[in-house]
């Protein structure tokens, strides 16, 4: 199996405030095929952003990583500085959550956009200019020349996120990492920005790892969705198969918790208990403390991902009769560092 991006049993530990290390990502395995959009969904603190940071090698100082991340067969943790820089500059594009914080405030939009293209070294200034104005129009920015000379604080959040999208695409990457690209925007802008990302991605046949806490949003733009809870992926499913009988109890809880328009509810549905952090998880299932169907086995033994139709689920008691016949979907091989 040669996925474009292949995360295999990724484990990330961060130095704790006092002493020792805290696990924030626990045995995460996930593949993204070329041209495919995969959604990574979870609550804040579930480790979804940390997973993308691990992929980009942007982990905080002192972080310890084990497992393997491969891009087109090349190990990302194994890259030297030069190769890493080259890879980041040419083959992957990243869209961050808060464009206001993630774009240098003292340099112009033009500086920001040109910086990315020119690193490549393959384009002349006029070619770069051509590509940038083309992309800016593609993300819906009209008066390109004026915008290029403006500073970030002169642009609205929505406009700035469009600039970020354009910047991520200037080097014609194969993979797009979008880390909650619309969370910092207001609702009407959110829709436009998502539509732009979705359209441009399809046109270019880009692969995308889309991080969000919004299941519906993920289902709208992604073919496949992985649900994260407390540092582990509890379920991976085709977007349209989410919430079927075979789903993980956590996913079901999330789906039930969505308020529906047009139906007045006396009280919003919630999942009992509080979300826990990855380092609080013991030997058992991460969701055991909140699961309505929890049994003794769940507290003692961590469930392995099990094949179900359309995906895999990490639960001991899925409502699927042949679940035991499925084989664990974790990829083989991949040395640790």
């Amino acid at each position: 199996m040669s996925a474009l991006l292949s995360i295999d049993r990724l484990r990330v530990e961060l130095p704790a405030a006092k002493k020792g290390m805290r696990t924030v990502i626990h045995d995460v395995s996930l593949d993204v095929q070329a041209g495919e959009a995969v959604g990574l969904v979870g609550e804040s603190g579930s480790g979804k952003s940390m997973t993308t940071r691990a992929v980009m090698r942007l982990l905080p100082e002192g972080a310890r990583l084990s497992g393997e991340i491969r891009f087109d067969g090349i190990s990302i943790p194994g890259m030297d500085r030069r190769a890493l820089r080259r890879w980041r500059a040419t083959r992957v594009g990243m869209i961050f959550q808060d464009p206001r914080a993630h774009i240098n405030p003292v340099r112009t939009i033009g500086d920001f956009l040109f910086e990315g293209v020119m690193l490549d070294g393959r384009l002349s200034t006029s070619q770069a200019r051509e590509r940038i104005s083309h992309l800016m129009r593609a993300v819906g920015i009209a008066d390109v020349d004026r915008r290029l000379n403006q500073y970030p604080h002169e642009l609205s959040g929505g406009l700035l996120q469009r600039v970020m999208i354009a910047a991520a695409l200037t080097t014609e990457p194969e993979l797009l990492l979008a880390d909650e690209p619309t969370t910092a925007l207001d609702v009407t802008t959110q829709e436009e920005v998502i539509a732009i990302i979705d359209e441009l991605r399809r046109e270019r046949g880009l692969a995308m790892l889309f991080i969000t806490h919004d299941l519906d949003l993920a289902a709208a733009v992604c073919g496949r969705i992985a649900v994260m809870y407390a540092g582990s992926i509890v379920e991976e499913q085709k977007a349209d198969a989410l919430g079927l009988a075979t789903s993980h109890p956590y996913t079901k809880g999330l789906l039930a918790a969505r308020p529906e328009l047009g139906r007045r509810e006396r009280r919003l549905q919630t999942i009992e208990g509080r979300p826990i952090s990855a380092f609080e998880v013991g030997d058992g299932c991460a969701f055991a403390t909140r699961c309505p169907r929890v049994r003794d086995r769940c507290r003692q033994e961590r469930p392995a991902p099990t094949q179900v139709p359309g995906g895999r689920v990490a639960c001991h008691f899925i409502d699927f009769i042949d679940a035991a016949a499925g084989s664990p979907a974790v990829g083989s091989g991949g040395g640790t560092r």
Binding site: R85, R86, W87, R88, H102, V106
Partner: protein, 302 residues
């Protein structure tokens, strides 16, 4: 401008409050005769009411005429002008040393946090506690009398000779300020290194060197510039100690000497010049900051 105006009143007013009668000093002798005293008082307008004499002094000051020194009996502006070059040279020398060494050490400490950072932070903390007069004594002992690389005394003549003479005073003056600027620089640069837009630059594969230059130093330059500016402005006052210690005949030494002799006209003039230098340097810093940060420029325009 307002600052200067207020400062001028305070400076002039302070001289009025100071105990001791300059007239007595001028006439000399332990029991001056009253007629001579009165004559001196009239000559130097010592009996006029405060506002009247202040205004006379101020109108002279704006024309560059600070009156006549009571001790030297020559125009104050001449006395200052003849010493200004030495002091300006000393301050400029120290300023360059401070900015280069301070910013350099600060950036290095932040960029190589693990290796250089710890050492530099410890060293600069010690350096901050070393006042100019202590460093002057140590420098003279080691580099002048000990190794004999630099002269102990005087300001020299001709540019290279002057610089050679001013090296020890400049470093003694700069010493603790280097540490101060280094620590502020380190903090500012470290904040920028950890900022999210620097993450973006890393994620885009921008080479480290460019990140440091375009995204870290450029953004950290605001606080660094402000502190450097304040430091340099403060040097004008600090030169008094260095000039005294190294026997350099500059404005600072003149100030100390005149204050001791109650030569009011000189003290007033020099104080005002120092305040003016401070204000001018600060204005330049604000101007540079506005040029460096488009957000500040926007605020200023509004």
């Amino acid at each position: 401008m307002t600052t200067l105006g207020v400062a001028s009143v305070v400076i002039y007013g302070a001289m009025f409050i100071v105990p001791g009668d300059p007239a007595t000093l001028l006439v000399g002798g332990s029991k001056p005769n009253p007629e001579a005293l009165a004559a001196v008082r009239r000559q130097f307008h010592l009996d006029d009411p405060f506002w009247q004499s202040y205004l006379r002094w101020l109108s002279g000051a704006v024309r560059g005429d600070f009156g006549v020194s009571l001790v030297y009996r020559s125009p104050v502006s001449d006395l200052i002008a003849s010493r200004a070059l030495t002091t300006i040279l000393l301050v400029a020398y120290a300023a360059i040393v401070i900015v280069i060494a301070g910013v350099g050490l600060g950036v290095l400490a932040a960029w190589k946090e693990k290796r250089a950072g710890v050492v530099i932070t410890m060293a600069t903390t010690v350096m901050m506690g070393a006042p100019t007069f202590v460093m002057a004594v140590i420098f003279v002992a080691v580099f002048a009398t000990g190794l004999g690389w630099f002269p102990v005394f005087g300001a020299g003549s001709g540019l290279t000779d002057r610089l050679w003479h001013l090296t020890l005073p400049a470093f003694a003056l700069a010493f603790s300020w280097i540490a101060y600027v280094a620590q502020v620089t380190r903090a500012a640069v470290r904040d920028e290194i950890r900022s999210e837009h620097v993450d973006t630059a890393h994620a885009r594969g921008v080479p480290e060197r460019l990140i440091l230059r375009r995204h870290v130093l450029r953004n950290a330059s605001g606080p660094i510039l402000t502190v450097s500016g304040l430091t340099v402005a403060g040097l004008f006052a600090g030169t008094a100690v260095a000039e005294q210690a190294f026997g350099i005949n500059g404005i600072g030494a003149l100030l100390v000497e005149s204050a001791a002799k109650q030569d009011l006209a000189i003290v007033q003039a020099i104080s005002l010049v120092l305040v003016a230098a401070f204000v001018v340097v600060n204005m330049l810093v604000d101007l540079c900051n506005a040029l460096l940060d488009p957000r500040a420029a926007g605020r200023a325009a509004r």
